[in-house]
Amino acid sequence: MQKITRDQLIEKAASLLGNGTVSCVLGWEKGEFDYDVTPALFETESELREKFVFGDFCGANLSKYLVSKTRKCEGRILVFLKPCDTYSFNQLLTEHRFDREKAYVVGIPCEGMADIERVKELCGDGISSVTADGDELVVTTLYDDEPVRVKAESVLAERCVNCKSKKHVAYDELIGEDGEVLSSARFDEVARLEAMTPDERFAFWQNELSKCIRCNACRNVCPACTCERCVFDNPSSGVENKAAANSFEEKMFHIIRAFHVAGRCTDCGECSRVCPQNIPLHLLNRKFIKDIDDFYGEYQAGAEVGSRAPLVNYTFDDLEPGEVFERGGQDA
């Protein structure tokens, strides 16, 4: 399904390592299964050849890891970024989270990443391997003798179905062609929720948020959550807690997290990807993005380095909070 291959990327990385342009490579390596690919740092070509993978499950956005890795790595780090990842990259630069000079960005095209949950819906549990073959995925499971073939298109992750951009907004070099910013239907689901009655909305979110096990995966993966010390880990912030002794942060965690990244979230969708409970967390972030677009004019975080985020900006005639409600939607 992906137009570029693992070998192409390894060749590129090997040559940049070889000529000393970079000292290490930020990429993906295979986990327990074909589909649980994790970010990894490679320092030699042999490591790359042994462990580096690229395919339909390389959804992980590598930009966040630059914050910690650039502090540890001596030279430049080669990082492979898909179009949507480059927005996070720019946003992190806007917030001075790492030194641009220490990253060497190779922009790679992306045809959309697969969502293992959707594969499971089609093929059942017990998946032992998934490999790409043309525009199909070949899935073997513990329970079926014959591999099952599914269209890659039919198991695309939601964020890729509603892809916002195939254009790289930052790179040092590109592999393949650059794409365009797309007009996506990504806000449709938010609009559907907005059109519900407050009771229905409440029921929806109560159902979703009750599933949360506070594993913090959404926070840990989020490229906007790179705080040196997260408020949720800080005893003096008033919202700290790791054991669920205090019900406050239990309830408010997702609201506070969404607010903290409001105007800075690039809508990369990592939070929903990693949520083990499959809570559609991106719908919280998208609500803020949609509101910001509606109230203050369209703003895409990370589209350009140095832009002023909507929450640290204002105009003299911004909407009043009361007017926000007058603009439509069901009254509570």
Binding site: E95, C227, E228, R229, V231, N234, S236, V312
Partner: protein
């Protein structure tokens, strides 16, 4: 753990009538940290204050809660009481049980209950209070005035009068600004030069004032009381201290076809020039763009004729660094460009001019030696049309005009019309107006005189189109009161162009971190109560850089700005408000969110080394708040995603403790 004393005031019957003060004192006794609780008729009285002081000593109190009237009333009083008792004044909190309780609630049970809750909130806050000491910073006793027009001149003179040294930075070769170009001034009609040039001489002769002419500010660092400024003194290729201003070089210079800026390009000057006879400093300047010697290395005539030996073709720009305690912005205004107003044919005809050009045409030192002759053929114009509000009050054309009223045009147009009729009674003078705005002392009388005594035709309506035809200008306009369209054959059309802030103001504002409005006028710290101060501490505003102004207004604002500067420079040390923001460097991400919301530019970033958990060292960018500049609004604390930024005196923990106490 704090040792807190609670003092409940009766305020006579003001509080005691609706709140059971004894019950409040009793209830608060069992709050965490409270070791003493008392009530008294008038806590703010000497006896009440003594009671507090004694309690502090007797019970070793570390914190005080006074349940009384609004902190806006007596917080300062009780802080002084605490200080007198040896406590840090910021260990006092007030529970407002009068204005916000006893006076607005009627029944005793609910009033008492609320008073107890407000008391608990105050106790909860004091438990987290820390002693605060206001920071101090020294004051450099020197002021910088940017801009040498009448605003800058007046400010500098007033500051120097109080005994403080002042530097004026002026980008042109001479000070004087726009006022030096004017002919007469409304409404008294005294000549501008007669009242301005003595002031210019005063500036030159005042030993407290230094003039950096032909210079620009290139860098500003620091904060109130301690600005570090770099001034670029542009090379004028003439030694300022040697040149006598005799003018021989100007006379002999062979390059004489350079448009003269001072006369708005209506005549020419030489490549080496002195802008006008009364220039200060009166020294020549070589226009490097026009000088043959500087361009081609040939000529050198000026050097040959200069007996003083002042010419120096090798002169370079010079960078001067100086420290200042206060900065006054007096960058002034310019008329907007008329190029885009096609309908008035400004670019097509030499006889369509702006009002400032008209000033030069009527000025005895101007291109026509004060005779009103039209630029195209130097004939005396017999029909003159003045058009007001050209580009002012213009909502439709952001790229053409300005939305605001330029304020001065009504009066100067009346002046021009009147003076024209006075000197040349044979001319017909029409003034097209939308409104005539004359709010000022003797202003309306002046305008009425133009109409009634001098016979100026004031027509309510607007000129729609000016078409040059032969040696005439066909003016098509509406006369709204007579419901007629007029077609006038005019000899001269004068446009009252809107005025805008000088282009140098925007980059200057960035250097100063001073805020501007959408029109690039500097904003005041408060539009009514602090009109000559910028929100950035230590930066003051003088003249039209803050908004359109006439001369008397400019002079009075200049004086006001000077008095603010004097007030600042008179101090040896600045004592800040201790309730300022501070950043926890360990938690700071260096993301710049706080810097972007800070209205005062109080936050800067430093690179700092940190030992990481794995014993490596990382260099991180972290925010640092300048307590001398921070005013304590707290905008940064909310913008900060990690919560590294907090506000002393109103810390997140304190506010949340209050919330908890209220909601318990």
């Amino acid at each position: 753990m704090q040792r807190i004393g609670v003092f409940v005031c009766w305020c006579g019957s003001n509080i005691a009538a609706t709140v059971d003060v004894k019950a409040v004192a009793e209830a608060l006794k069992s709050e965490p940290g409270v070791v003493y609780s008392a009530d008294y008729q008038y806590m703010c009285s000497q006896a009440g204050q003594d009671l507090i002081k004694e309690a502090v000593k007797e019970h070793n109190l570390t914190g005080i809660v006074v349940c009384s009237c609004s902190p806006r009333m007596h917080e300062a009083t009780f802080r002084k009481t605490a200080a007198a008792a040896g406590l840090n004044p910021y260990m006092v909190e007030i529970a407002n049980i009068r204005e916000q309780c006893s006076w607005v609630h009627k029944d005793i049970p609910s009033g008492t209950e609320k008073a107890i809750i407000l008391g608990k909130a105050a106790v909860a806050k004091v438990n987290l209070n820390t002693p605060l000491t206001p920071g101090e910073s020294p004051v450099t006793k020197r002021a910088l005035v940017i801009g040498g027009g009448i605003a800058g001149i007046q400010t500098a003179l007033d500051i120097a009068d109080a005994g403080f040294p002042v530097d004026i930075v002026e980008k042109n070769p001479t000070i004087g600004g726009k006022m030096a170009q004017l002919d007469k001034t409304f409404p008294t009609l005294d000549c501008a030069a007669c009242i301005l040039t003595p002031k210019m001489v005063d500036v030159a002769q005042n030993d407290k004032i230094r003039i950096f002419s032909y210079s620009e500010v290139s860098e500003i660092k620091g904060f109130v009381g301690n600005f570090d400024v770099t001034i670029r003194k542009k090379a004028r290729y003439v030694k300022e201290d040697v040149c006598t201003g005799c003018g021989l070089c100007v006379e002999k210079c062979p390059q004489k076809k350079i448009p003269n800026e001072f006369n708005l390009g209506m005549d020419n000057r030489s490549a080496i020039y002195i802008p006008f006879a009364q220039a200060v400093p009166k020294v020549a300047t070589i226009d490097a763009e026009a000088c043959t010697m500087l361009k081609k290395g040939k000529c050198g005539l000026c050097s040959k004729v200069c007996t003083a030996g002042a010419i120096d073709y090798k002169q370079q720009d010079e960078l001067i660094s100086e420290k200042y305690g206060a900065i006054v912005v007096a960058t002034g205004f310019n008329p907007i460009s008329m190029e885009k107003f096609d309908e008035y044919a400004y670019s097509q005809s030499k006889d369509v001019i702006t009002s400032l050009e008209f000033e030069r045409l009527t000025n005895a030192a101007g291109p026509t030696a004060g005779k009103l002759l039209r630029p195209s053929d130097l004939k005396h114009p017999h029909t003159i049309v003045f058009v007001q509000c050209v580009g002012s009050r213009c909502a439709s054309c952001a790229e053409k005009g300005k939305e605001y009223c330029s304020k001065i045009c009504c009066m100067y147009t009346a002046k021009h019309a009147m003076l024209t009729r006075d000197k040349y009674p044979d001319t017909d003078v029409y003034v097209f107006y939308i409104d005539v705005r004359t709010p000022g002392k003797n202003f309306d009388e002046f305008y009425r005189r133009a109409v009634e005594e001098y016979g100026v035709h004031y027509i309510k309506g607007m000129v729609g189109k000016v078409t040059p035809e032969g040696d005439k200008l066909k003016v098509r306009a509406s006369d709204l009161l007579n419901n007629k369209q007029l077609n006038i054959d005019a000899d001269l059309v004068v446009l009252a162009a809107a005025i805008e802030p000088d282009k140098s103001a925007r980059p200057l504002a960035t250097m100063l971190t001073a805020s501007m409005d959408t029109n690039d006028f500097f904003t005041e710290a408060h539009p009514k109560l602090r009109p000559v101060e910028s929100p950035t501490a230590g930066v003051f505003l003088s003249g039209a850089c803050q908004g359109p102004k006439d001369i008397p207004e400019t002079v009075s604002q200049a004086g006001a700005a000077a008095s603010k500067v004097i007030g600042l420079l008179a101090k040896d040390k600045l004592t800040g408000n201790p309730c300022v923001a501070s950043s926890d460097e360990l938690m700071c991400n260096g993301c710049s969110s706080c810097e972007r919301v800070c209205p005062y530019g109080a936050i800067s970033y430093i690179d700092k080394e940190f030992r990481m958990p794995d014993r490596t060292v990382a260099i991180r960018r972290v925010a640092s708040v300048n307590p001398a500049v921070c005013q304590g609004c707290g905008a940064c604390t909310v913008a900060c995603p990690s919560g590294a930024m907090d506000l002393r005196g109103f810390a997140s923990g304190q506010i949340m403790a209050e919330v908890d106490a209220i909601c318990k």
